[in-house]
Amino acid sequence: MLFKEVIYLMQKDFLLELRQKYAFNGMLLYVSSTVFVCYLSFGLRSNVLQVPVWNALFWIIMLFTSVNAIAKSFMQENRGRLLYFYSIVSPQGIILAKILYNACLMLVLALICFVFYAFVLGNPVEDIPMFLLSILLGAIGFATSLTMISGIASKAANSSTLMAVLSFPVIVPMLLMLIKMSKNAMDGLERAASLDELLTLLAINMIVITVSYILFPYLWRS
């Protein structure tokens, strides 16, 4: 039952996205212009940026992209539609569908961002599969924690400020792990070296999903 609901709600989100191309195109432009601004402001030809700087800059762009992309997930729904959902589906279905949808959206955005970023600023990554794995985990992690936060922020009056204030501290542990893991991948260290970070990231994701699953019904009621 829950599974069916999740599938339906995700279908609805994808369909809306396909018809309106609202969030996706906007975010695409956001990503490309941010990368281009970075390129211009460093004022350099490719392959001159140091590895830690490249890595940090990439994850900062990812962080802002995801905050902006996911902030829309509850704010764009109008009041009538929310009431309609309230009467026909369970809150657990809604939060899971939103998390999955946002994870897919973030994954696509992150991959595009990585390709464009590597194209413009050079690609010093040595172990690309491992780096892609860290992007995958990052997309899922950002989607899980930010979806819940955007649900909280959308209830308040000044929701866009609140979104940033609430999400940055919560997301920092995840970001630190991701930066370390992708740094390992960039230096081409053996993969066992990143196992600790990988497991911690998975554990943090599990905690966040469980807590969101339990808490969202209370948020939804208001």
């Binding site: 924690s145 819940m148 936060i149 909280i152 209830k155 308040a156 009056a157 000044n158 609140l162 204030v165 609430l166 940055f168 501290p169 919560v170 920092v172 542990p173 630190l176 792990m177 600790d196 970070e197 911690t200 554990a203 943090i204 905690i207 966040v208 807590v211 969101s212 808490l215 209370y218 948020l219 009621r221 208001s222």
Partner: protein, 221 residues
């Protein structure tokens, strides 16, 4: 008198902590020297903060199960006292770090984790202040409070242990129990933890009673 015995206990424990903590013999150790006495002030702050924030989370859960003004007020006041303990913990920790590690802030994972943890709870206060309606504010901040606590635990207890840290008990360093050969530190440390935590509970008790009275006054005016 029967109900207030723990307040007397708090006063006695804190007097004991300050007097004995400042005057008693401590192990002579290089680098640490006399700053080891900070063990009775810095470490209990974090113990107290975690316990008091746990109280806050428990009352937030109670609020979600059974909404009442009392549960909300206690959750809010204990979060504030938890933040106070956290700030004191970070200040005493910086002071200690100046004398042992050489810098007030040396970009240590434990220090950064504590700072981010405080930011999470400052965000809680900002969130609370952005709702006008009382019930909505109570419910949504309860949800965030539980969420924040779940995010705080890995930040303070798991991440610093995975990386290199100067802080005792992290990154392969021994904890303080390794220096405490004849248990003389423990004699003061445990009463100190209990005393400071009870003081926090006392503050919560007084402040939430005051807040409840104030709300009742507003209702009647």
């Amino acid at each position: 008198m029967k109900k207030n015995w723990w307040k007397i206990l708090t006063v006695l424990l804190l007097v004991f902590t300050v007097a004995v903590g400042m005057l008693s013999d401590v192990p002579r150790l290089a680098i640490l020297n006399e700053t080891i006495r900070n063990l009775y002030f810095h470490v209990p702050m974090w113990f107290g903060m975690i316990l008091i924030l746990l109280v806050s989370v428990v009352y937030s859960i109670k609020y979600l199960r059974k909404p009442s003004v009392r549960n909300d007020v206690i959750a809010h006041e204990s979060a504030k006292v938890g933040i106070l303990f956290g700030v004191l913990g970070i200040v005493t920790g910086m002071e200690w770090a100046k004398f042992t590690w050489g810098e007030y802030w040396s970009n240590d994972p434990k220090q950064n984790g504590a700072a981010i943890g405080l930011l999470i709870y400052f965000a809680y206060l900002v969130l609370r202040s952005s709702f006008a309606e009382q019930q909505q504010r109570a419910r949504i901040s309860a949800v965030y409070n539980i969420f924040a606590f779940a995010a705080l635990i890995p930040l303070l207890f798991i991440l610093p242990r995975l990386t290199d840290s100067l802080h005792p008990g992290n990154g392969g360093n021994p904890g303080f129990n390794a220096y405490d050969l004849d248990s003389s530190l423990r004699m003061v440390f445990y009463p100190a933890v209990l005393g400071w935590t009870l003081l926090g509970v006392w503050i919560i008790n007084v402040k939430s009673r005051l807040e409840l009275l104030r709300q009742r006054l507003y209702e009647n005016v």
